[in-house]
């Protein structure tokens, strides 16, 4: 009776320790991913150093599912730069090219007009009502580099959230059932 009791106790304690270790390891992985993301934000100077191209308005250069690397420096915005901006009231960032720039003397205030390479008209229709120009605070970053196809993972996960749940469920299962 005492032997059984001892064995049961030892089994219980091992399980708890193993579970705790696994939980801490998982926490470490998530935290280091977060640290890398925040560090990228600091280095590039923009709130979203990586964006996924969601529409075909910059084809054939950027197709849906491509990933863009952004930076934001204090350099003034000039025509030809591919900028990522948010329109007031909408939270989906748009990636288009600046085609007109008017920069004020002294204040450095700048009016920017953008257009997608594959669009026939400029973006005035996309801006808020009564807005004809973008200003610096609308612009989140400039595209400097690009990787094709990698962004499809994000698009699939946001358009079919069931896949997100399946993935997280599978990952959780893997963590629990793995022996180390």
């Amino acid at each position: 009776m005492g032997l059984v009791g001892e064995t049961v106790d030892s089994i219980k304690s091992i399980k708890i320790r193993q579970l705790l270790t696994q939980a801490v390891t998982l926490g470490m992985i998530v935290t280091s991913a977060l640290i890398i993301w925040k560090a990228l934000m600091c280095v590039t100077g923009t709130e979203s150093p990586v964006v996924v191209v969601l529409s075909g308005s910059m084809e054939p250069g950027f197709k849906r599912g491509d990933i863009l690397f952004l930076t934001m420096t204090k350099d003034p915005i000039r025509t030809g730069e591919i900028v990522v901006f948010n329109v007031d009231g909408r939270d989906i960032p748009i990636v288009h090219r600046a085609i007109k720039v008017h920069e004020r003397e002294n204040t450095g205030h700048v009016d920017v007009l953008t257009k997608g390479d594959n669009n026939d008209v400029d973006d005035i229709g996309l801006y808020a009502d009564g807005q004809f120009w973008l200003h610096r605070h609308h612009i989140m970053g400039r595209a400097v580099g690009f990787l094709p196809y990698v962004g499809w993972v994000t698009i699939i996960m946001s358009e079919k959230p069931i896949i997100k749940y399946i993935l997280i469920g599978a990952l959780g299962l893997l963590v629990i059932t793995s022996k180390d």
Partner: protein, 167 residues
């Protein structure tokens, strides 16, 4: 250690690492290309030059653009985006850049071209400062790679001038 799961995981990680490495090298190799582009722009005609009802000057031009951008293409180039912008200074604005025309050049063979068109995008000022204005025409290009870092540069051509009176 030898289960299917571990092997698949190791294979996938290795494949992704190698792919990322190849992309980085491909992009890095773009730094070594020798680029000697050339261009010339002529203003053939000022079609019209007026002050619009909202008070801003607008001018319509016919341009003759000759350029050879073939040396910009490398094996890692997907397309070159070329555009011509008019740049000028006014009393209100220290810099104005207005894109007049652009084109996507998908292949090296199409990068040596001659084209005569009127401006694709409207040349409108913020104000009515364009009479007698001197401006530069700049041919910009933006090399968009198959993967990696994008490069942009330009050729500035100066000495253009708008007429002193509306017509």
């Amino acid at each position: 250690m030898h289960s299917f799961g571990y092997r698949a995981n190791a294979l996938l990680t290795f494949a992704v690492t190698i792919l990322a490495f190849i992309c980085a090298i491909a992009s890095f190799s773009d730094n070594f290309s020798n680029q000697t582009p050339s261009a010339q722009i002529q203003i053939l005609n000022i079609n019209w030059f007026q002050k619009q009802p909202h008070g801003n000057d607008e001018v319509s031009l016919t341009l003759n653009i000759t350029a050879d951008l073939q040396s910009l293409f490398t094996w890692n180039t997907k397309q070159v985006f070329a555009f011509v912008a008019a740049e000028y200074k006014t009393s209100k604005n220290s810099l104005n850049q207005v894109s007049l025309w652009d084109a996507i050049i998908p292949e090296k063979e199409q990068a040596n071209f001659w084209i005569q068109i009127s401006n694709k995008y409207r040349f409108i000022d913020q104000g009515h400062n364009l009479r007698g204005k001197e401006f530069n025409l700049t041919l910009h290009w933006h090399v968009m790679p198959k993967t990696g870092k994008m490069f942009a540069d330009k050729i500035v051509m100066s000495g253009y001038r708008l007429p002193n009176a509306y017509r």
